[in-house]
């Protein structure tokens, strides 16, 4: 079971703004890591943009599960994990991180922040610690506040999009994705698998 990324974002009126992120792409092939990382940023932003204020959701895409929590004050967090990682622990982590972030970083900095300007250094160590869900959070069963029935489940990324919107279009228009990443997406999409090389 693995965690791949942990990001804090601000849900603006039209866009989601990345404030800080941590990534673990070590399990990916060396030459694919930068593309994978860009995709995780792209995905995290897209999910926050398409999620309601005050909601929690899990979005399934192939063998990945993206867990998102958007608070009522528009501060949002996204964890991208595999499908073995227990979602309950992912949401505990999000709650914890956003709570800590909101105390350390001034609210006024959120709408205009970026990873370069925001001072919050704990994400990398959280990501690393929570790789083993049991070491990180031995009390994972005690989740009195979290009502799991309220977590929205999406079976694909597509279900987050507006009618008529295509993921392919969003990818090609994205400013977050470099040319190589877009090429990678195109090939992977055609073959419907990231392991297929023919």
């Amino acid at each position: 079971m693995k965690l791949y990324s942990l990001s804090v974002l601000y849900k603006g009126n039209s866009k989601a703004i990345l404030l800080k992120a941590a990534y673990d792409v070590s399990s990916f092939s060396f030459f694919q890591r930068s593309s994978v990382q860009e995709f995780m940023t792209f995905t995290s932003q897209l999910i926050v943009e398409r999620s309601e204020k005050g909601s929690r959701a899990s979005v399934k895409e192939q063998e990945y599960l993206c867990h998102v929590y958007v608070r009522n004050d528009n501060l949002a967090g996204v964890v991208i994990a595999d499908n073995e990682y227990p979602s309950r622990v992912a949401f505990t982590l999000l709650e914890k991180v956003l709570d800590e972030f909101s105390k350390q970083v001034d609210k006024i900095d959120w709408p205009v922040g970026s990873p370069a300007t925001i001072h919050y250094a704990a994400l990398d160590s959280y990501l690393s610690r929570y790789q083993n869900p049991r070491e990180a959070d031995p009390m994972t069963k005690v989740q009195a506040e979290l009502d799991e029935t309220k977590i929205i489940l999406h079976n694909t990324m597509e279900s987050l999009l507006e009618r008529g919107e295509k993921l392919d279009d969003l990818v090609s228009k994205s400013e977050v994705l470099g040319t190589q990443s877009k090429a990678f997406y195109k090939t992977a999409r055609k073959q419907n698998s990231c392991c297929d090389i023919m």
């Binding site: 092939s29 060396f30 593309s35 073995e84 049991r134 195109k186 090939t187 090389i197």
Partner: protein, 396 residues
């Protein structure tokens, strides 16, 4: 851009050479990867070397892979000769591009067998009338292979080839040595706990437990025949090449304790990681083994097959009950090679002693109740109910 066959052959030969030269230039390459690159840049090699990482641009793969694959097949069919260097280049390239390629694993097994056979050093040591156990050399080879399997298993979920190879290594190189089986059981515990939907990984643990049962029985049968054996064990001289005394290889394996631990592991994982069918399948297998260990009926010959799990190979367990005073001894007719098993749809018919059976089954029912009353995961509830139904069929 259409390539003529000659152009392709020339291109491919250049690329294969480039790969080989890269290894020669940097013997510390520790990773090979595909670089997504749809088009070739003019006259540039698709082979890229960065630090200790070797990259292959994706555009060349559609030429490279069929070519080397074909070459290897022709070689195996003896339709084309390849010298040792060419063979190394070709298999190396092939394995780099497709680590899950079954033929490549077969070649590896073939090489291992050659290695063991061509060397005249003994691979197993016999001590008087005790069973054999592996030399340090064999232990090292086994360790290396097990590491390769572990690496491959991590790259690919439920990597059947990697885990089958691991089983093959234990059967044919380690000869199901008890100490190695026990070491494998403890060293794969953490991995399995962190890969809760990896069916092949859990199937491997089932293989280990079944092998321990069969091997313990074999050894205890030998020990039984030799009343003075226990004296001999303590008298054995320590050999420089041996890391363990043979006593270690013949320690009494507390099978029921091992199975209890496995049940505890299963409970722990099911509780903490709800909704994984693999864990429930594993539980069925373990409960089944435990059930038989506890069963001491004298007369009936039981032929039983475990319940199907998702696409894994099954083991048929032929067990006939014990007749000795040793609490865990059972005559094992023969533990079938897991690689040869087909899927059997026999239902299980058990005759049982009321006391032990019902206690075990009762505990399982309580476990199921606890899961159903506290779980909030739809899949988990479904699996728990299916498990309950399976238990009920057992007692019919």
């Amino acid at each position: 851009m259409a390539e003529s066959t000659e152009e392709v052959a020339v291109l491919v030969q250049r690329v294969v050479k480039d790969i080989n030269n890269a290894f020669k230039r940097n013997p510390h390459i520790d990773e090979i990867g595909l670089i997504p690159c749809p088009e070739a840049r003019y006259n540039r090699s698709p082979i890229v070397l960065v630090e200790n990482k070797l990259g292959v641009e994706s555009w060349c793969v559609k030429f490279l892979l069929p070519y080397v694959h074909n070459k290897l097949l022709l070689y195996r069919q003896r339709k084309q000769r390849l010298n040792k260097d060419e063979l190394i280049d070709v298999t190396c390239t092939l394995l780099l591009l497709n680590p899950d390629f079954t033929t490549a694993w077969n070649v590896r097994r073939w090489v291992l067998q050659q290695l063991i056979q061509e060397n005249s050093l003994p691979t197993f040591v016999k001590k008087e009338n005790l069973a054999t156990f592996p030399t340090e050399r064999v232990q090292r080879i086994v360790q290396e292979e097990v590491e390769v399997c572990g690496e491959a298993a991590g790259r690919y979920p439920s990597n059947y080839n990697a885990w089958s190879h691991r089983i093959w290594v234990l059967q044919h190189l380690a000869k199901l040595d008890i100490k190695i089986l026990l070491d494998e059981l403890s060293s794969t515990k953490h991995w399995a706990s962190m890969h809760v939907s990896d069916h092949s990984g859990f199937h491997y643990r089932q293989f280990l437990l079944k092998s321990l049962i069969s091997q313990t029985v074999t050894d205890s049968a030998i020990l039984e025949q030799s009343p003075l054996v226990s004296e001999h064990i303590s008298d054995l001289p320590k050999d420089d090449n041996e890391e363990d005394t043979s006593a270690e290889h013949h320690r009494v394996v507390d099978l029921s304790h091992l199975l209890e631990e496995e049940v505890e592991l299963s409970t722990d994982l099911i509780d903490n990681y709800p909704g994984h069918e693999t864990l429930w399948c594993h539980r069925r297998h373990v409960f089944y083994l435990q059930h038989h260990l506890n069963n001491k009926l004298p007369h009936s010959q039981m032929r039983l097959s475990p319940v199907d799990s998702n696409g894994g190979t099954l083991n048929d367990l032929n067990l006939s009950p014990a007749v000795t005073h040793m609490t865990q001894a059972m005559d094992v007719d023969g533990l079938n090679d897991s690689n040869k098993q087909g899927y059997s749809q026999e239902t299980k018919r058990l005759k049982r002693t009321p006391a032990q059976d019902s206690l075990g089954i009762e505990m399982e029912h309580r476990f199921i109740e606890q899961i159903l009353s506290t779980c909030r995961n739809v899949e988990q509830a479904r699996f728990a109910n299916a498990y309950r139904k399976w238990l009920v069929t057992l007692s019919q």
